[in-house]
């Protein structure tokens, strides 16, 4: 299988982490029209963060960019699932961080880069600065037969998608066939992963309800700074590692404080996602090591 071949060359390149082959697109039979491609997910770079949880914060994002640029087979596109920058109450500083972030990721070899906000980018100004730098906070695009939906569950500081966006989502989904392949990107988990750590979306259940009639849906998100894999019915939800500091597994400690810094950065990284009739992905460490 092609995804296995690519995993092999990633291993040869010394970049592969654990491979996760999901039963994604579960309603999909092996079909001739499936186009194989891959994309890379970056998440939670928190540019502008300064603190003991990552003394290397000024360089971690640059290292991740270099690592992805070093992939033998470049992805078709790259997606950032939110918290591009670390929050600040100073609007001028927020824009300065977004500007610097954009400069750093401008070094990516792949120029088709999609962005969405996290609460650190957008919750204090309802996404105003984010839109100035990166455009819309929710949108769709299509790539090689797969429909991608980007949802914004952070511009409302109460972590809601809101009725207007839900209506927009419903209208978009009405145009899909039940067996279309659909990938959703969002920042927060759409389901109640850990409500008392605020790892949830207030009205995320409504989005899942809208997605449920579709047989081939997978969700990629960020926010929780670690890998996590969860099913709501037949819909798989995959959380990504961050590029700033790892957070504890849900409920594994009393508070959601960052895990202690480890110079080897084992808890940080990006993710290379291969899409065909199945989806598989490989976790990429920050550096080749």
């Amino acid at each position: 299988m092609q995804h296995t071949d690519r995993r092999d060359f990633l291993k040869l390149a010394g970049m592969a982490g654990v491979t996760f082959t999901a039963g994604l697109f579960p309603g999909r039979q092996a079909a001739a029209q499936a186009a194989d491609f891959h994309f890379v997910q970056f998440s939670d770079s928190h540019w502008g963060y300064s603190g003991p949880a990552n003394p290397d914060a000024e360089h971690t994002l640059e290292k991740a960019v270099a690592t992805v640029n070093g992939l033998p087979k470049q992805p078709d596109f790259i997606v950032f699932t939110g918290d591009l920058t670390h929050t600040t109450e100073d609007g001028k500083e927020r824009r300065a961080r977004m500007k610097r972030f954009r400069e750093i990721v401008g070094a990516l070899t792949v120029k088709d880069v999609r962005f969405m906000p996290g609460e650190h980018d957008a919750s204090l100004d309802k996404g105003e600065a984010f839109k100035e730098f990166f455009g819309a906070t929710h949108y769709t695009f299509d790539h090689k037969g797969v429909h991608f939906i980007v949802l914004d569950n952070v511009s409302d500081p109460a972590a809601k998608l809101g009725d207007e966006q839900l209506a927009w989502l419903a209208a978009d989904l009405k145009q899909r066939k039940a067996d279309d392949r659909i990938v959703v990107f969002t920042h927060r988990p759409l389901f109640d992963l850990k409500p008392d750590w605020d790892w949830t979306t207030a009205d995320g259940a409504k989005a899942i309800e809208l997605l449920m009639p579709y047989q081939n849906v997978v969700v990629f998100y960020g926010h929780i700074h670690q890998e996590n894999h969860h099913m709501t019915g037949h819909i798989a939800h995959h959380a990504a590692k961050s590029l700033i500091f790892p957070l504890p597994a849900p409920g594994s400690q009393p508070k959601r404080t960052p895990l202690p810094y480890d110079a080897a950065m084992p808890g940080l990284g990006t993710r290379d996602v291969s899409v065909a009739d199945k989806v598989s992905f490989v976790e990429l460490p920050v550096t080749k090591g």
Binding site: E119, A158, D198, R256
Partner: protein, 116 residues
């Protein structure tokens, strides 16, 4: 004699009503919110006895969420927000801000201790 008994009964009934009223009046727990803390951040109630949280904010909109009891509300500056709870389980339960309020938001939380 009969009249004296009647008065006693009425008096007793009035006392009982007052006692009943007192038992049903929830105790107030006043909590003030500001970036990035609640004051006080540890409060106590008794199992089965209703309480009302009287919530105020000193700076901006904050949230008050306690998933263990299905409670949540916004706390809007300039007004008192009242939330009633009759605890049906003992233990320590976290409440936290679920309206993103800045760098430190993730640490804005408190504890409700329900004594059996």
């Amino acid at each position: 004699m009969r009249r004296r008994v009647m008065v006693a009964l009425l008096f007793g009934s009035a006392l009982g009503g007052a006692a009943c009223l007192a038992a049903e009046t929830p105790a107030e727990i006043r909590i003030s919110a500001k970036k990035f803390e609640y004051h006080p951040n540890k409060v106590t109630a008794k199992l089965g006895q209703p309480v009302v949280f009287v919530l105020t904010s000193e700076d901006r909109i904050h949230g008050f969420k306690m998933p263990d009891f299905g409670l949540r509300t916004d706390i809007v500056p300039g007004q008192e927000t009242r939330v009633t709870l009759t605890p049906d389980k003992a233990g320590s339960f976290t409440f936290f801000c679920d309206v993103f309020c800045g760098d430190g938001h993730e640490d804005m939380e408190g504890t409700l201790v329900i004594e059996a």
